[in-house]
Symmetry: C2
Subunit: 406 residues, 2 copies
């Protein structure tokens, strides 16, 4: 039940009905392909005569293609429809502190090529390096299809209206206009988004089905920082200034370990990758400097997980304690938003078998009802593809989204 904003509404025109139905057809094909016109009509509960012009328009637009003839027990064989995906390309870029990844992807999410480069310290250099590599990538695969846009995933806050990267704490960048710079350099539309939101989009649009059938979930990433991408009622929740999802800074304790945000006792200060390593080392994250000291050990969460699997009791215990804190923090999301599912990403998700009981215990400790305590928590083992798929989704998803009216 949405209120119509009398200052900012979208009037329905003569073509609105068709726009809506065309988009429904498109999404049905995407979901059930290969599928015939007659099948579409049955799923939409309309006569076949309505579907035909919608499909033809989508074919003309280049969104759908006709494929082979299908099988049928009796009667005329249907011509099957597919989403046109294999000759439409998107460049996905994932900027992280450790490295920047590029992927050339088709519209089904299939990867055609991947590249890595060290992330430069200066954002201008990044734009330069990306431009060169994207051009080379597109030249090398020009036969594969046309590229329709670039999706750029960044570890920090974004202003969608202007496309500026407002603040990326791990990179130390502030107020950089990445979108405009890359758009003019490459000559393709650029979509920029925060990493956790992109991961949520990846689940929503290119996922393997763990959030299928749900219209609300939260994707929580544990990495250098902790953040969430939120989907409620089929909508991505971005908040008033695109700052929603920073659950990493809900307090677990007002005077707990120091957090890089400047506060103390944030969930992130208990569960981020440096926090896990510090816990394993028996060090306290009492000051900001202690983060640098932990980093200097060059020990990673992946190392800690490997040692735990090798029988290191201290590593195992550090992970289990972390698991409980993860569950405790998840309870804030569950109590506050009541999503149908929680998806947990990041390196620590690779140790799910080790931490699962503690996560669920922590979650149950602070949730209010049995129903919310039973919210399924699904690990997504660390997979660089997720963020890249999210980056591709930035280009692809808008073409499939519902038109907004009312």
């Amino acid at each position: 039940m949405r209120k119509i904003d009398p200052r900012n509404f979208q009037r329905a025109t003569r073509t609105t009905t068709k726009d809506i139905n065309r988009q429904i057809v498109l999404n049905l094909v995407r979901e059930y392909q290969p599928i015939s016109r007659a099948d579409l009509a049955r799923r939409m509960e309309v006569a076949r005569g309505i579907v035909t012009p919608l499909v033809n328009e989508l074919i003309e637009q280049g969104m759908l293609v006709e494929g082979a003839m299908g099988a049928s027990a009796r009667g005329r064989k249907p011509t099957l429809l597919h989403v046109r995906a294999h000759d439409r390309l998107a460049v996905a870029v994932d900027v992280r502190l450790s490295e920047t990844q590029l992927m050339l992807s088709d519209f089904s999410g299939r990867s055609l090529a991947t590249e890595f480069l060290p992330t430069p310290e200066d954002p201008d250099e990044l734009v330069l390096a990306l431009t060169v590599r994207i051009r080379r990538l597109l030249d090398a695969h020009s036969a594969a299809g046309d590229c329709e846009g670039i999706g750029l995933v960044v570890p920090g806050m974004v202003d969608r209206a202007t496309g500026r990267l407002v603040h990326a704490p791990t990179l130390g960048w502030r107020d950089v206009d990445l979108r405009a710079a890359l758009e003019t350099a490459v000559g393709l539309p650029v979509h920029i988004e925060r990493d956790a939101v992109a991961c949520a989009l990846a689940q929503m649009w290119m996922g393997q089905g763990v959030v299928q059938g749900t219209d609300s979930f939260a994707y929580v990433t544990f990495s250098d920082g902790v953040g969430a991408g939120l989907v409620m009622g089929g909508h991505v929740v971005r908040g008033h200034r695109d700052a929603a999802g920073e659950f990493g800074h809900v307090p677990l304790s007002l005077d707990g370990p120091a957090c890089l945000c400047g506060s103390r006792g944030c969930w992130e200060a208990y569960t981020s990758n440096p926090a896990v390593v510090a816990r394993y080392l028996g060090r306290e994250l009492a000051t900001r400097e202690s983060y640098a000291q932990v980093r200097e050990t060059r020990l990673t969460v992946t190392d800690v997980i490997a040692r735990a699997r090798a029988g290191d009791a201290a590593a195992r215990s550090a992970l289990e304690v972390t698991g409980r804190y993860i569950g405790l923090g998840l309870s804030a999301i569950v109590n506050g938003l009541n999503p149908a599912r929680l998806v947990v990403g990041g390196e620590i998700a690779g140790a799910w078998d080790l931490i699962r009981p503690m996560v669920l215990q922590g979650l149950a400790e602070r949730t209010l009802t049995q129903g919310t305590a039973a919210t399924p928590v699904i690990p997504e083992p660390h997979d660089p593809q997720t963020r890249l798929r999210g980056a591709a989704a930035l280009v692809i998803a808008p073409l499939f989204a519902a038109p907004n009216v009312g």
Copy 2:
């Protein structure tokens, strides 16, 4: 940008365009009344010929009425349109531990009559008592118009699909089918909702403008418990099982004061009414029993506020400390959802002048950016009308909401 759920979509029919535009007209009249057809056409950027049939349909439905002739500098005078409100009634019911309030309201939110009764311990008795009083109320005001429904606000979790009250901790009720019982007894449609959500609806639909022009805000109530009603993108966020908004149980400290939910250190345990009184009395809420002891003193937050105003330093200090905790907890909502505004309701909002600086300090302490730290916090001094207006909105709002398609 919403994804169309291929398993649960709403196809557009021949009348969808008109349905959307009719609802837009209705909302424009509601916002700008009195307003002429020609003005509506200008605001919608369509020809006047499109507006006329939409308006006539709404008049026929009984949603609009024509009023007096308007003034005009030159040319023919317009006939002004109004939302038909003064002869359409709704019964608003607010169930609280201390007492249950009834209001007979017209569709503009104007109160025709108010009644109070002590809340019975048994839900069946409540239905009985409500039935008698609602019938009497409607008989007494039968000349004022027809009643179109009952809005029921309860202090607890609700299952909207079945209309059952799942759990109301302060009342000690579990799994009560209030809606069905009241519907059959009175013979009018009953809409049931959690109190914080109803308060958010009151702001959204019948508010005095503090959230006008924003499509996202959180209404946070501080009373026996602490809860929030969330509105994001014009939508009320209810979550997967109508349990969203329970921010009262985000932890401020994992081993803080005991909370009635069974956990420790919840925001609620620092900021609820009993917590404020306990703070003033210098008592710790270490166990569940301590809540009963605090209640036995019969001291209320209103008393504490009065004493603070009278110069009681301990009272003043208790309120200020509470203010900081309120701000600290609000930061979780701001970081997690980034609403455009926060509205604070409950008794403590009546002491806003005393606590404001501490609330803002607490909020700024834990928010990530200047932008989010500057989220406006608007007090709504305790006003029993808010919840009752929210109850009325449960009946009224669905008639004005946007049709859902796509």
